[in-house]
């Protein structure tokens, strides 16, 4: 024991890392840990609202993980997550689950901001993704092969995209498969001849922060959060919190908070459309 002072200082600092004792809970005495897993589109919203919620209820910890909407639904069912996050409406096979919509979003096509192409028709998009059109000069762009960016299976953004364009997953000829929205944005931003599709909220957020991507209109309608909010954008989808069976009070409190008007600013900051009134 050559340096008893140092050693005891180390042990004391370790002890300070322990659980932060009896926190002052605000009136309703909410404490505990909530786990949310699933969609990478919903995750940033859940994270931001979660931080504010933790600030209001110091005994609460909100843990958010991504993994895709299918993971959110599977985890909600199996109980691995208290709340599953899904960026699409529930399918008929998921009628055993309850969906609570916390925001609206859309799926938009993105290309690099240096790409001169301003819009693509639905048929052109179908053809590109099925491998029919392979060069940008066939759609009014430069002479370069198109790098098609697709989303991995199990992602709701993929399913919404396939449903709108009437495509079969097996028939898609892609060059790169990405996981979450951020990876999609990074891939398109890093390749001037690529095309992909991501959540409009994520794309606007990135473009707003200087990432070199731009959203293309679909069927003549600009891919903006406003158009999603007004319902004029054709590829819209709800951002849902999904629960299975009985919901414990902490989870219910968090869900209600996410749907309240107190967090509208957080939702709009992330370029999503807030829910008008709790249904």
């Amino acid at each position: 024991m050559r340096t008893p002072l140092l050693t005891s200082a180390l042990f004391l600092s370790l002890a300070a890392c322990g659980p932060s004792g009896a926190a002052e809970a605000t009136g309703d005495g909410l404490t505990g840990k909530l786990t949310l897993t699933g969609s990478s589109t919903v995750a940033p919203v859940a994270l931001e609202i979660g931080k504010r919620f933790e600030g209001l209820h110091p005994g609460v910890r909100i843990d958010v993980q991504t993994g895709g909407s299918s993971r959110g639904i599977a985890d909600a069912r199996s109980g691995l997550a208290d709340i599953g996050m899904a960026s699409r409406a529930c399918k008929p096979s998921e009628s055993d689950l309850d969906a609570h919509t916390i925001a609206q979003d859309g799926v938009g096509l993105i290309v690099h901001s240096d790409n001169p192409v301003e819009s693509l028709t639905d048929d052109q998009v179908r053809s590109i993704y099925l491998g029919g059109i392979t060069n940008w000069n066939e759609v009014g762009g430069p002479d370069a092969p198109i790098t098609v960016v697709n989303k991995a299976a199990g992602r709701a953004t993929l399913e919404v995209f396939l449903k709108y364009f009437g495509l079969d997953e097996k028939a898609i000829e892609a060059d790169v498969v990405v996981g979450d929205n951020e990876q999609g944005v990074k891939t398109v931003a890093g390749n001037p001849h690529s095309v992909g599709y991501v959540s409009i909220g994520t794309a606007e957020y990135g473009a707003g922060n200087g990432v070199p991507i731009k959203l293309l209109p679909t069927d003549g309608v600009e891919a903006t959060t406003e158009n999603v909010g007004e319902g004029t954008f054709p590829i819209g989808r709800p951002l849902n919190f999904v629960t299975f069976g009985e919901v414990d009070p902490l989870a219910q409190a968090f869900i209600d908070y996410c749907r309240s008007s107190e967090v509208h600013d957080l939702v709009t900051d992330l370029y999503f459309v807030p829910v008008r009134n709790a249904e």
Partner: protein
């Protein structure tokens, strides 16, 4: 405590801990086999190679479970990486041990140790941001088998070099002195005395490098493109077994999940196979 008793306690504790380590490996193997059984039974083993593609999640029963594209991807990325990293790593070790001055050798080794410590996700990130656009200049889309091979090569060359250096250092001094007494040239000494003597150690260096490349997940997930199709050229995107498991296990249910465990089992079998081969070679080397 009398020495006899202390020795016995030590021997038994050592037996217990090594049994525990061995048991862990067997448990993992058993768990993989158990989770794969369902898949093998319901899907049928031949389909893992004969199905037209990898589309495991079709709700209407038309799922396809071919693991062939992923197996090809894993094997080719690993093979490419070790073909590059093996010679370069070993030659770097030879340089450090026999040709460089003590100071340069030490500096070089510190640099390699630093490289060996960089987390794989950093290699993947660098690959995505720097290497993939470079490859894209040659052949779009950039995220490809070639990118995977290069990133894996960078990751395993420090491992191979450091282990090879340790093996070369273990060559008994008498061998080197004997070669000098016979006035063998430096290269002859290396070829006829050092390499045969260090063969098993060099083999282990190559083996561990290969195993690291086989098991790598994050880096290949970020630079290989993740398209589950058998590559037709070096610049086609691929998806390795490890990347496949990482992308899909989070949400896979029933058959899909079971087949992912089958792919995990396939990886484990590859590793076991490598270890067995290395063991056989080593035994032959020590007998001959």
């Amino acid at each position: 405590m009398p020495r006899q008793r202390a020795d016995r306690i030590l021997v038994w504790s050592l037996r217990a801990t090594s049994a525990l380590a061995g048991l862990l490996v067997l448990m993992i193997l058993g768990f993989l086999v158990f989770e794969s059984l369902d898949g093998v039974r319901r899907v049928g083993a031949p389909r893992f190679l004969s199905d037209p593609g990898w589309h495991p999640n079709q709700g209407d029963g038309s799922s396809e479970f071919s693991l062939l594209p992923m197996i090809v991807a894993t094997l080719t990325t690993t093979l490419g990486a070790i073909l590059l990293a093996g010679p370069i790593g070993i030659l770097a070790a030879v340089y450090c041990r026999f040709y460089a001055s003590e100071r340069v050798s030490k500096l070089f080794r510190r640099l390699i140790e630093l490289l060996a410590g960089i987390p794989s996700v950093v290699y993947g990130f660098w690959g995505l941001v720097t290497l993939v656009p470079l490859i894209r200049e040659i052949a779009p889309p950039g995220a490809s088998l070639a990118a995977g091979v290069l990133v894996l090569f960078l990751m395993i060359v420090p491992t191979v070099a450091l282990l090879a250096f340790a093996a070369l250092k273990d060559v008994p001094k008498q061998h080197l002195e004997g070669a000098a007494a016979l006035s063998l040239s430096r290269w002859s000494t290396l070829r006829q005395v050092v390499f045969p003597s260090a063969a098993s150690g060099l083999g282990i260096a190559l083996l561990l490098g290969t195993m690291r490349a086989l098991g790598e997940t994050m880096a290949v997930l970020m630079v290989c493109g993740n398209i589950a199709r058998v590559p037709e050229s070096l610049f086609d995107p691929v998806r390795t077994l490890t990347a496949n498991i990482a992308l899909e296990l989070g949400y896979a249910t029933a058959d899909h999940r079971s087949v992912l465990f089958v792919s995990g089992l396939a990886l484990m079998i590859m590793v076991v196979g490598l270890v067995v081969v290395q063991d056989r070679l080593q035994r032959r080397a020590s007998l001959g």
